[in-house]
């Protein structure tokens, strides 16, 4: 009576242990966002940063770039996303110096270099804000599939992750967990 119980128990728990072991040795870390497979080169961006200097995306080669499109007068989505990205940078810790968060304005009429700097400075002084003429911005929005309406207040809100080689790797929805975005940035850095 005892032996039947003992053996059945050992078999059941042994089975669970074996499954756990197999999973432990076989799971590979995976991406959490919408992956672009195969990766495509991210379109070049030619704009002006919030210090007035010309900016090109290719100047950030060697770093993971996290791109976001929004406007500084945004009451909800943009500050929320920036807060999540700030948390992601905090989670990355030391590794965050290899990751650059870049925000491109969707509201050239109201956003200036100064307003971008003020807005982003509230989250992380390493975040970069980009401004430009309406035509320059329209080209970037088009290249990244960003819809902009209502004077910039309605806009696509994806977060784009670009790897160190300048390839477009995945997109995230703004409510993605900071831990997940940080984990993916770490994955890309390890490649």
């Amino acid at each position: 009576m005892q032996h039947k119980l003992l053996w059945r128990g050992v078999a059941l728990i042994g089975g669970l242990a074996i499954v756990s072991g197999i999973l432990f040795f076989s799971i590979k870390p995976s991406f959490h966002g919408a992956v672009i497979n195969p990766p495509i080169p991210a379109a070049e961006i030619n704009l002006t940063d919030f210090n007035g200097s010309p900016f090109t995306l290719s100047s950030l080669r060697g770093k993971v770039v996290i791109l976001y499109f929004g406007y500084t007068n945004c009451p909800d989505e943009c500050p929320l996303t920036m807060a999540h990205l700030k948390l992601a940078m905090d989670i990355l810790g030391d590794k965050s110096k290899f990751v650059k968060v870049v925000m491109v304005t969707t509201d050239p009429a109201r956003d200036t270099a100064e307003s971008m700097k003020n807005f982003l400075g509230k989250f992380n002084s390493n975040f970069i804000g980009l401004v430009g003429t309406r035509d320059e911005l329209i080209k970037v929005w088009k290249d990244y599939g960003v819809t902009v309406e209502d004077g910039g207040e309605t806009h696509s809100y994806f977060v784009y992750m670009i790897d160190q080689a300048g390839n477009f790797r995945e997109t995230f929805l703004p409510d993605s967990l900071p831990v997940d975005m940080a984990a993916d940035a770490r994955l890309l850095l390890g490649e």
Binding site: M1, Q2, I13, S20, L23, L87, V179
Partner: protein
């Protein structure tokens, strides 16, 4: 499964406890290293199954109670059914809280110390082992064994309360997690508070049973209060077998 001698019964209690302990350790490993939620759920269900079948003796509900409505056997069977129905209703409270936890926090978890969670869980599981031992001892008229095991159960139960209310709660409050700070705080305090309340009433129940036991009120033939206290105590453990992974193991931080 009919066991005919005391040593067998006590040994079975030990075997079940070892299974529970191994599963708890495996659970911890899976949570930390793999994060496979389905596996954690399966293990919780297996643990609960072991406790409900072997410690709570749920199959006794199926026993024939005889036709004599005035017999002890009949009355005990009725009492037993009543207790289980009460526990069923109590399950709705805990079930609701469990569902709420996943509705509110989804697959994220509150920032709790997982090692502390493992320690209090182990204390509670060990207390169930001794509670079962106490009940089994009384079934064979071993009053000394019964008394010793009940006292140990009580001490471990107090240890659990000390761990949750004395360590976990203050450390959460110190970090700014309060019942009203955010949803994680609210659900954490509600779940652990409701559960701790049941542990406390369980401790009162155990104290009464201990006192009456020492007065010689129970025998091998007649000890419904002991069985009731055991079933109630194991129920509280079953709730924790679900609450523990829900609060400490499943989900990502933040």
């Amino acid at each position: 499964m009919e066991n005919n001698n005391k040593a067998d019964v006590l040994n079975q209690g030990v075997i079940i406890f070892v299974f529970l302990a191994v599963l708890t350790a495996l659970e911890f490993f899976v949570a930390i290293e793999i994060g496979a939620i389905v596996l954690l759920i399966i293990m919780a269900i297996v643990k609960v199954g072991l406790v409900i079948y072997y410690y709570m003796h749920i199959t006794r509900l199926n026993e024939d109670s005889g036709d004599d409505k005035h017999s002890l056997k009949y009355k005990t069977a009725t009492n037993r059914l009543g207790l289980w129905l009460f526990l069923l209703s109590d399950s709705f409270v805990f079930g609701g809280l469990l569902v709420s936890r996943f509705y509110l926090l989804s697959l994220t978890r509150p920032p709790l110390n997982q090692t502390l969670g493992l320690i209090v869980t182990s204390v509670l599981l060990l207390s169930s082992f001794f509670m079962n031992r106490a009940e089994s001892s009384m079934e064979y008229g071993d009053r000394k064994g019964f008394t010793a095991s009940i006292i140990i159960t009580l001490i471990l139960g107090i240890g659990f309360i000390a761990g949750v209310l004395g360590v976990e709660w203050p450390s959460a409050l110190a970090e700014g997690i309060t019942p009203s700070s955010n949803t994680a705080g609210a659900i954490f305090f509600m779940m652990t508070g409701m559960h701790a309340l049941h542990v406390l009433t369980g401790l009162i129940f155990l104290s009464v049973v201990l006192r009456n036991g020492r007065r010689g009120l129970y025998s091998a033939e007649k000890h419904w209060a002991v069985e009731a206290a055991a079933v109630y105590w194991h129920f509280v453990d079953v709730v924790w077998i679900f609450f523990y992974p829900a609060l400490y193991l499943i989900g990502k931080l933040i």
